[in-house]
Amino acid sequence: MDLSRELKNSLASLSIVPGYVLTIVLTLGLTLGVLVSMFNLNFLLNFEPLPYPNQDRLVISNWEHKDDGRLRFSNAQNYPGLREMASNRDLFEQLSFIKYGEEIQQNDSKKSKILVAYTGPELMEMLATPFELGRGFQETEAKDTNNSVAVISHQFWQQHFGGEPNIIGQVIQFKDINFSIIGVTASKFIEPQLMAVGRKTQVWVPWDFVNETEKDDANWGLFFIDIFMVGKVKLEQSIIQAEHILTTRINDTFKSEVAGVPYFDKREITVTLPKFEQVILGDATSRTLMVLIGVFVLMLIAAVNITNLVMARAANNQRKFSIQAALGARKVHIFCNIFSEIWLVMTAASFLAIVVAYISNNLLINYTQEYIPRVNELSINGATLVFTFSVAWLLALIFAIVTVQQIKYRKLALALQASGKGAGLQISKKVRTFLMISQVALSAVLVTCNIYVLSTSLESVNKPIGFNIQELSYIDVDLGGVNLSTRDEWVSMLKEIKSRLIEHPAIKDISIASNAPMARTINMEWTVAVTTELGGGKKIGPGIALIDENYIPIIELPIIEGRNFSSNEAIERTKYAVINQTMANMIDMNESAIGKPLYFPRQKVPYLVIGVVKDMTIPEQNDSPRMYIPSINAASFMLKFHEGQAPNAEQLNHLLEQIHSQAYLHDMYSMEEIHHNKVSLDQIFAWCSASLALLSLVLAGVGIYGMFSYTIALRKFELGIRMAIGATPKRITTLILVDAFIPVIIGLFASVMVLYGLYLYINSATDYVVSVQYKGLITAALLILITSMIAGVMAIKSTISKSAIHALNDR
């Protein structure tokens, strides 16, 4: 058998059916392309090692806080604890502290915010950080050297310094310190995103420049979520053993240090040392795997369509096969003929798939960096190509085998003797029914799953958050350079800023508030342990906000019981509290919380509850207790702007400079922007699931249309007879639809079985909990039924829209 001649013949044969080729190439190219992209991502996350030497020994510290054995929270550590852990040097080959923060660049006219990491030379060694220019930290920048130098990222260098070649030695100023730039990381350097997915450090400075009050603090009862110890565990050291040793040391010290504080009575701290890989990936792999499965099912739907097309083409080619059989072609020759044709088409589809995967990868890199770890490392590589062509060629083989199975070789050889009539090849009714059932079942499963994801995502996006975010912004003002020695001076300064800001025509209202209702990543509000009785009672750990009387009205948070603070109460710092509904329920489910006392640790005078406000439902956050205390304390404000008049950071900075030359805008973000960021992942999910559902429906529709067309072609003469004896177009349409109804119903029933299996599996074997959504199931079933009906009507239209004689002449 001459392979090249076979391929040449197939090419010639395909050239006269461009529609057939185009349909398969587009259908498979698009679906396989998306599958390849998802494979790429899953392969990267599950099999590609992190780009650091000895990455399997790189760990980061994490503390799990448990009360009575129940996990309260994790990822909160303290400075004395870090020092304690670091004293166990024998466990680690190298170790370093790291603190992530945000600072305002003071020697920048725009006073832009920069993402900073405070760390030591060991971290850069552990990561084998490559440099574009200069160098990383060395012993001269190690702990207690107080050498104010900085390393900047390649991206920061390009964006803020325009890639200036003479950057080394230039100064970057924040926290009133001039940091001399000593290095620029190479463009190929990939920072391990240990704090949050998508957070890219712009400037690294030595650990010595963490606020002294923080880093030298010896308070074991104060925790921070942005500090860690990273280390390379010694080769001979087991990580579990190291965790055990550190847990014992930290727990013992912690208990002795906080002895006598009722809040920490039953607190246990467990130190874990997850590998970098675990921290960076989080639960992303299970999510991406779900997407991979979804896309795989989509490709299966496409594959069913293509099976139908390939078999229909083989049926059309029956005369050619008959002649070949009559001339002595064996079954293997017929197989090769079919395989070479479909192999060519699938190879063409593979090239399109690679282009689609490339586009899809770029979309992922551009739009999902904040949600999917390591996504910026995606590329078309050897594994991608192997996967693409393997899948395409395997499918080609399957299509060819399935098609050849349908050919009755013995009858084929006799076909010519019967003048080419009646003895040829047809797709059997059983196969057609099976294809229809699988098409419907796969589509229904995929559409139902996507409707589920879509509805939960939309629910999250559209869920009212409990307060008005319109035209509402939070600003944090840096008054570090202003000489304010007494509290009265501090309060006067804050009131001065407030009164000057309210004069701005764009500002409608203003409130002094220690923190915003929503923050960028994790809400940085303070959490304090309060009790309902002095030294006892119920223990509650609410988030605390120090606010003035304007805060609750500005954010339009509904008061459901009691009252708000007065202006004087805020100035006087009266021991009153407004709490949220969750906290009120924690105090007493049955009685009103108004008038109830709340004790802070080491304080004998309680805060009295004077009001209860509605809970806020912040995306990504569970209902948590909140306590609002009247106090003019923080140099941060909530601003309500007139519609469409919100000034930018530069304008506000200019205004602050007019109030005081040393007042800078440290941070500013709008609540709408934060909310948008928080729900954007859900929005992406909503878009993706809606697109996937639509694509599945379209593919299912095309496939079912193909199946109907083929069936109608086979039955055309019979339909002609029916028309001749008086069947109206409506009757013929009903007949076709009713005949297809049974496989559609079986397909839907099969999909319910599959979905039930999925439901049981997800709820029992994974961390996810899914609920049964009958609405989604019914909607999917209706959509599939409607799609099938539309496909059926479209397929029969060409027959019923012509005179009966056309169908009768079709024999």
Binding site: I721, T728, A804
Partner: protein, 235 residues
Amino acid sequence: MKKLKLSLKNITKVFATQEVETHALQSLDLDIYAGDFVSICGPSGCGKSTLLSILGLLDLPSSGTFMIENKDVSNLSLTEAAIIRNEKIGFIFQSFNLIDELSVFENVALPLRYNQTALSEKEIYDRVTKCLARVDMCHRIQHKPNQLSGGQQQRIAIARALVGNPAILLVDEATGNLDAKNGDAVMTMLKELNNEGTTICMVTHDPRYADHATTRLHLMDGKIVADAERLAELI
């Protein structure tokens, strides 16, 4: 005075492709009266089947007027044509055209099921068995067509054509696929039906069977070139 059943006036049928136009029927006039037995003869490609398709509303004429029982049916919609086909016309095809998946009973009952007036199952059963008795096929009521001989299949097809009490029976080479014995039996049956008052229009190329007709038409190149009866009247 005989009642006019079908009337064709100046009927033409043109099959056009991008390159060529074929005139299958040219300015054809034809009247068929109640109780007529018309045979249409002619060589292959003369337009016999096209004429029968137009008479049976399976196809539309390119121009001209076609009346069935004084109702203009030249430009009916597909649905209206189907209804008239069901109520007024009975078809008998050369290749029987029974539906293999359906039993003899269901094949014969099919026109009744397509009727605009919903008939009861009992009524359908009565009418089907009556027609099957008429063609002497009651004993095969539950058989499938492929279990029957050619002659039996054609008798079933006749029963199906009769079951709706059509105004006219259109017969397309009904004996073409049958041996002489079965062919004769079918012709005898048609003659009997005609004697009982059924109007029949039959296409055949067999002059032996054409002679059974009361009106014998000859078609040549889409035109009626001879009407034997009218010719005799003139003489």
